[in-house]
């Protein structure tokens, strides 16, 4: 069943059917209705590839999500797709594993579908200008900003929180509650990515609060997984690490930290307090509820789409928006 068959059944030409299909003007009302009726009856759906091929200008954007199981990203996807739809953009979703190269994926997605722009949901900071140039359409980094790879800030856009500052707030909150020995649980202190930035914020907060940072307080677990965080914290505690509060640089890490502490016989928050960053839905159902700095994910998702649309419409590239994370007080921090 093709557009041609529909045209024949309606006694009109293919161009008329095409006009109806694309909601274009210059079709008499009764003709439009008849065509619509036949389309409905036949359950006709146009072949997307053919349309895409014929279209002189596609209005599609791609969304590449890194970390297929990450709830934080999954919670943003539907907002992105919805907003894109509202603004008249078709979307192509590509989920990739943590190990894969999101730039290469994005470049290939853009070419294989004539995309007008790409949103990167999560990714690595450490990119060279050459790598970025592989993607020949505007890019908006959502939840992160490339600041390590020497890519000019004019060559991409971004919307994210200030990672260093947010970590600073998290740790300062802990300090304000009287905590002195505050541990940090992170993948790495220098991964040229979020982990490194949040580590800086931690150090700054500790310093400003007049607290010492010593080795035992830094629990590097290797990656962003809950498994790694769990074993890292457990091992640290078993080896005698001594702290009354822990800052997990993401909610998933913070939740795994709580579990590890609990399994070591520590009560939360009585013995150890914990805070995270992100604000994923699940944190509200943990016992105790996690205190966390909530990223405004709907705002970020919407802005990411709006920014890419703006750039596609011809506005300048290089839009970099910083949004605020807000402290949501749960039950995981002891209030002194």
């Amino acid at each position: 069943m093709t557009i041609k068959d529909i045209a024949a059944k309606c006694g009109v030409s293919v161009s008329t059917v095409s006009r109806v299909l694309n909601n274009q003007p210059y079709v008499k009302q009764d003709v439009r209705e008849k065509v619509l009726k036949v389309i409905e009856e036949e359950h006709f759906v146009p072949h997307e590839g053919a349309a895409s091929l014929a279209r002189t200008q596609e209005d599609s954007i791609g969304v590449v999500i890194r970390g297929i199981k990450n709830p934080f990203f999954n919670e943003m996807v539907s907002t992105i797709l919805k907003r894109a739809h509202e603004l008249g953009y078709n979307t192509y979703l590509q989920q990739i594993r943590v190990g894969e190269d999101e730039i290469a994926e994005a470049a290939s997605l853009a070419k294989s579908h004539k995309l007008k722009g790409v949103i990167l949901l999560g990714g690595n900071f450490d990119r060279t200008p050459e790598e970025m140039k592989q993607i020949d359409v505007p890019v908006v980094c959502c939840t992160f900003s490339n600041i390590f790879g020497g890519v000019s800030s004019k060559d991409f856009s971004s919307v994210c929180i200030d990672d260093e500052d947010t970590a600073y707030k998290a740790v300062t909150y802990l300090a304000s509650q009287g905590h002195k020995k505050i541990a940090i649980v992170l993948p790495s202190v220098e991964d040229k990515s979020i982990s490194e930035l949040r580590y800086k914020g931690y150090c700054k907060a500790m310093e400003k609060s007049g607290l010492d940072v010593y080795d035992d307080l830094i629990i590097s677990t290797g990656d962003y997984s809950m498994e790694a965080a769990y074993s890292g914290v457990k091992e640290a505690v078993e080896n005698g690490a001594d702290f009354t509060a822990a800052f997990g640089i993401s909610d998933l890490i913070a939740l795994a930290t709580m579990k590890a502490l609990s399994d070591c016989g520590k009560k939360i928050p009585e013995d150890v307090s914990v805070v995270g960053i992100d604000g994923i839905d699940m944190t509200s159902y943990f016992i105790p509820t996690l205190t966390t700095l909530v990223q405004p994910r709907d705002l970020m998702a919407n802005r990411a789409v709006e920014i890419i649309a703006q750039i596609i419409e011809g506005e300048e590239n290089g839009v970099h928006e910083i949004v605020d994370a807000e402290l949501r007080i749960g039950e995981s921090v002891r209030i002194l």
Copy 2:
């Protein structure tokens, strides 16, 4: 940049380039290498729509996921995509919200991309044969099986656990630990879907164990969300519902149940024990760890792909596989 440009740059014809692109034989080794080199240099990626249009026979399958944020489904997706890739199938992923019509989506996806088959990840049971017929390619329901809508079992395939039996096991386990007042937390006792089936299993287990089912034990919350489960349980307890164990028909529901109970001052498992079904990753990090019947999600994901491949290759439709859920004992059930 098109295949034609590449051909020109290499001094060969488009068909040679096409052959190289598709890993076909009948290209001299040195020619193949030269073409590959130019493709690499130019970062050429063929237009997917054009290829799809020209291909006489596409080998693509679609995956429609219902419940964009559901961790259980998200955890299966990558396995499905991987297996499909291994078997030589292209995949098209479509995530839809809980309110949307997955059959209509699947039908449209199948037509717009000339799909050979569709995997439905989660969905409604209550479908008529007419609705199913909208999808003109083989369908495999993964995690559920259509048994309410009168669709002939020959018209679709499925791979799922035995919902009634799994619920039976969960409740029987609770009873075996000495519990007598066992509540069930579910969306609805008759939603013609998973909830209804698991409710049946609950009733059967209660009966076999010689336990009474009375109204206070049945907490219907309206939908599958954690929010609904949380408020439903909280309200029930505040209204005096009295039970020592609760069966949440899904992990998410069980987790929300634990939280609600905890917020009502009940300790788990000391005051109330809880079990779920699914085995999502997150359950291992809750305090206490949730006892649950684990669905073999990798197995189901792999089988779903293998079954659809089998049907596409010409084998008979109507394959219905039941897989076993396995009890994973956590800390949420009091051991007597």
